[in-house]
């Protein structure tokens, strides 16, 4: 018996934990073929070898080892994530573990509390590996705005992983964590998922609690899973979601069993194809990808329906009024008084504020705080913020109308594949354009998933996005699950960073 177990363990090593999914890892743990400690050591080792990728801001290996040993002692396999080490985006406050939001202003901030979403993961048996790099306060689409530096896309040196959950996407793709969570305000989960060939889901606004997540734009922020496949995605969503009375915008409803109810079902389903998403200058490859997706759906028995979402073209400008407006107010608390960075310069309160915020925030954050302050100013409020809110209602109305006759919408996730570091750093508008397909979903509060669907001529992955109406995560998970099988996306990494 003993020899048999040893043999099995050897097999696992050969199988390589880097190439299997979270769900498979969980099976190994549950069948006691691998211990939590062995898993922890494996991922810690990967993280140590993956320093070049710069995907981690903070690691807490002592705690990880401790927690995994405790798990192995207790052997409680009831949770959805038994003994699974997981790294999370550094926007989730973690008790006694530094939480920076990618900013200098929170460089040394250690929360005394744990975000609801991460506590949900720990309750399901998961163990924290560390905190993942991200754009500063989640403002960015390339992870280049982080105070802690760029994150590299494991596909290729010099390539961005997308953002703002860039560290999460890279750590997942490079198997520095078996799964992870990010936040998505305008595409921050789906775009990096698309750029790295992984799966990312932004849930319905209110499905996951925002309590304990460093806020960027409160009416748009949602936490969501980032995983290697759809099955893992369903599992992680199930683990992290749920009503929280500490978040007034949290939806009070029964928790769903996404993983148990996951099935490949497309037959008879009606998929909308919005004509407004055929934007000018969209690369042919992306159009082809979209077409392939449509063909797969058709082949699997779905009905394709052309739809119109007429206000789509206003989504990006609307987003870039609403999000900065809320951000300008949300970030006012970083003033050097109570916690976080405080400049030594300044002779009075106002000067202290000015120096603290000038030194503590990066350029992109400053840009958005300025835009937000401007659009909320008296005399401009009606023309910008109020109008944006009205347009937002129209955008939501477009979706509501189309969901009367369809089940889900299929679009590309991004208008391009991953770009080079520095390529768009000095051109904020072209950077913002990256979010053109993802932003409308946040404005409407809908769930959407991005799944890897192909590659461009450079071999960079491209994603397709499925959108449903509120609280129909199960539906898009099921469609994605079916498409995933048909697409059979494969990606081999040569682990050049090790």
């Amino acid at each position: 018996m003993r020899t048999f177990l040893l043999y099995q363990r050897l097999l696992i090593k050969m199988n390589d934990l880097n190439n299997i999914s979270l769900s498979e890892i969980i099976k190994l743990v549950k069948s006691k073929k691998i211990s939590s400690l062995e898993l922890a050591n494996h991922f810690i080792n990967n993280i140590k070898k993956g320093k070049k990728l710069n995907s981690f801001i903070t690691t807490c290996f002592d705690q990880t080892i401790n927690d995994s040993k405790n798990f192995d002692k207790k052997q409680n396999f009831d949770g959805l994530l038994p003994g699974i080490p997981i790294a999370v985006k550094d926007l989730f406050c973690t008790k006694n573990i530094k939480t920076t939001a990618g900013s200098k202003i929170l460089e040394n901030f250690v929360p005394t509390y744990e975000s609801t979403v991460t506590s949900n993961l720990w309750k399901e048996g998961a163990i924290l590996l560390g905190k993942l790099n991200c754009d500063e306060f989640a403002m960015g689409s390339s992870n280049e705005t982080s105070f802690f530096g760029n994150v590299l896309n494991p596909l290729e040196n010099n390539l961005v992983p997308g953002g703002s959950s860039g560290g999460s996407a890279t750590a997942l793709t490079a198997s520095l964590t078996p799964a992870t969570i990010g936040t998505d305000t305008g595409g921050s989960i789906r775009q990096p998922a698309s750029f790295t060939g992984t799966v990312g889901l932004k849930p319905t606004y209110g499905l996951c609690s925002r309590w304990g997540i460093v806020a960027f734009a409160s009416s748009l922020d949602q936490a969501g899973p980032m995983t290697k496949n759809v099955e893992d995605c369903a599992l992680m969503l199930e683990a992290m979601s749920g009503y929280d009375k500490k978040d007034s915008t949290s939806i009070n409803r029964k928790k769903e069993n996404y993983s148990k109810n996951l099935k490949r079902s497309i037959k008879g389903i009606k998929i909308g194809i919005p004509k407004e998403y055929r934007v000018d200058n969209m690369p042919k490859e992306i159009e082809q990808l979209w077409k392939n997706g449509i063909d797969i759906l058709k082949k699997s028995g779905a009905k394709i329906i052309d739809i119109s979402l007429p206000h789509t073209k206003y989504a990006l400008p609307t987003y870039y009024i609403v999000a900065p407006a809320e951000a300008s107010s949300n970030l006012a608390r970083y003033d050097g008084i109570k916690y976080g960075y405080r400049s030594k310069k300044g002779n009075n309160l106002i000067e202290m504020y000015e120096h603290t915020r000038a030194e503590g925030f990066g350029d992109e954050v400053k840009r958005r705080v300025l835009i937000g302050t401007y659009v909320l100013s008296s005399g401009y409020y009606d023309a910008y913020y109020l109008k944006a809110q009205k347009v937002r209602k129209l955008i939501k109305g477009d979706f509501d109308n189309s969901f009367k006759e369809i089940d889900a919408i299929l679009t590309p996730s991004t208008p391009s594949s991953a770009f080079k570091i520095g390529e768009k750093a000095n051109d904020p508008i072209s950077m913002y354009l990256n979010d053109i397909f993802t932003v409308p979903v946040n404005l409407a509060g809908l769930p959407a998933i991005s799944i890897p669907a192909g590659k461009d001529h450079k071999g960079y992955p491209l994603g397709l996005q499925l959108i449903s109406k509120e609280l129909e995560e199960q539906k898009i998970l099921n469609i994605a699950f079916a498409m995933e099988k048909e697409i059979d996306f494969k990606q081999t990494l040569n682990r050049w960073w090790e």
Partner: protein
């Protein structure tokens, strides 16, 4: 008391009317804060009643305290105001050291309570003052500048405490009316238990808007806002000095600049704080962390049904049922505790006597000792007993005052004091007859004068009899006997 309104700033050529509107900030009586579960207890050690929400830590979210909503709705009902079933919390953005989030959660365009009114009893009649709105908001913390020459300290205990801002229409016309208005608001809120109105603890403060116009003019003048005045006396002083300042400016051909001013209580003058141009741009917008507040009509109705009898109603009842004068009724309803005390006493005692004893004797003692009626050394039961002793003739009104004094000192029952000190009224006709006879025998000369027509001397005889009985003689019996004897 004047029976006609007469508050004008009179100058050589003009009579100026003063227009006043008030924004009263009333702290909601609630154990916990508006958006967090921290305690609101006053006077605790600095920064000991502060949650992560109150100090605006990253990722913290506000959750509305339902009790504070009830309190605001109750207050709205007490102000005869429209309750808005849908209201919105907005962020009022500004930077200050004692404002941890960099914004105050308040209600801007859609307050929880709309228009209502308050009725004042002025010497010249009743006056209705319009209420523009009531909204809920958070208080800020406190900056303490005088503990160190180089540092400012911040105490966040108050941060997040619920306030009701009650905005009046510009319907007030004199410091007296303001006095009456604030007191009336306070009475209503104390009846409702929604604000304790304690000005020393800052539970009630006001921003005062003042403008002036010549008598008879229709249009309002440019107003100035005097910020954060924390006592009724200071409100009256600030209005007078500000109105005078404005009149002086206008009469010397200058213009009023719309601005925010502060009242310097030592110099008794207002000074400019910031002009309209320098005014903060608060960048109000709906707080995305909170959904619009929606309440059901049944929620409002339930509260309405549970509302206590309010001051105006009670006053009406006191006047009609107990035949009190409006003045007496006003005094007795001014505090719920007082009216309860009064109603307790008159359950067993004579109304006419009881009201006088409360308004005159008891209030003098309470004022003197600076006591609330609920801490009165004379309980309602004991006062009722005292009044009954007078009614029954056991003691005279004069002796009663002596007994009352002893009751204040000891807290004892009147019967015990009367017994111990032997203060019962002398009502035995035979004994009284003897006393009267003794007095008359000593004053034969006075009898002669009396009989000769000097009738004033009657009082002298009464006085002598009372003296001889140590004040205990029953005055009515003394009268009867004396008159009979003098006729002999």
């Amino acid at each position: 008391m004047k029976d006609k309104f007469d508050y004008f700033i009179k100058t050589e050529n003009n009579k100026w009317e003063v227009i006043i509107g008030l924004e009263v900030h009333a702290q909601v009586t609630s154990k916990s804060k508006l958006f967090s579960s921290s305690s609101t207890k006053f006077g605790e050690k600095p920064n000991t009643q502060v949650s992560l929400v109150d100090s605006a830590f990253p990722g913290m979210l506000p959750v509305i305290n339902k009790f504070c909503i009830e309190q605001a709705v109750k207050t709205g009902l007490g102000l005869n105001a429209k309750i808005n079933l849908r209201s919105i919390f907005d962020r009022k953005n500004y930077f200050y050291a004692d404002l941890p989030a960099g914004y105050q959660i308040s209600q801007y365009k859609n307050p929880i309570v709309g228009e209502g009114s308050v009725t004042l009893d002025m010497p010249y009649g009743t006056k209705k003052v319009g209420i523009e709105r009531l909204h809920l908001e958070q208080d800020a913390g406190k900056s303490i500048h005088d503990l160190s020459p180089d540092n400012t300290f911040v105490d966040l205990n108050r941060s997040g405490v619920a306030l009701m801002e009650i905005v009046s229409k510009p319907d007030l016309r004199s410091p007296d009316e303001v006095n009456s208005y604030v007191k009336k608001l306070r009475t209503i809120m104390r009846y409702l238990g929604t604000c304790d109105g304690n000005m020393q603890e800052g539970s009630l403060r006001a921003d005062v808007n003042v403008s002036v116009r010549k008598e008879g003019e229709k249009a309002f003048g440019t107003r100035c806002e005097i910020k954060n005045v924390n006592s009724i006396k200071f409100m009256e002083m600030a209005i007078e000095s500000e109105a005078k300042r404005q009149v002086e400016l206008l009469e010397s051909g200058k213009k009023i600049i719309q601005e925010t001013r502060l009242f310097d209580t030592k110099k008794n003058e207002t000074r400019s704080m910031r002009s309209k141009e320098e005014a903060h741009d608060y960048r109000y917008f709906p707080d995305p962390d909170l959904l619009p507040l929606e309440i059901k009509q049944s929620f409002v109705d339930d509260l309405k049904n549970k509302l206590p009898e309010l001051p105006d109603k009670k006053k009406e009842r006191f006047i009609n049922k107990f035949k009190l004068t409006p003045y007496e009724a006003n005094v007795l309803i001014s505090e719920n505790n007082i009216s309860e005390y009064f109603e307790e006493v008159i359950k067993t005692a004579d109304i006419k006597l009881a009201k006088n004893w409360i308004i005159v004797e008891l209030f003098a003692v309470l004022n003197d000792k600076n006591l609330d009626i609920k801490d009165s050394p004379v309980s309602s039961k004991n006062l009722a007993n005292l009044v009954n002793s007078i009614s029954s003739g056991e003691i005279s009104g004069k002796i009663a005052k002596k007994v009352f004094e002893l009751m204040v000192q000891s807290g004892d029952e009147p019967s015990k004091i009367i017994q111990d000190k032997g203060l019962q009224q002398q009502s035995d006709p035979k004994k009284l007859q003897k006393i009267v006879q003794k007095v008359l025998e000593k004053n034969l000369d006075k009898i002669t004068q009396y009989k000769a027509g000097k009738e004033k001397l009657y009082g002298f005889f009464v006085g002598e009899v009372m003296k001889a009985s140590s004040g205990k003689a029953n005055p009515k019996l003394v009268n009867d006997i004396l008159k009979k004897e003098l006729k002999k």
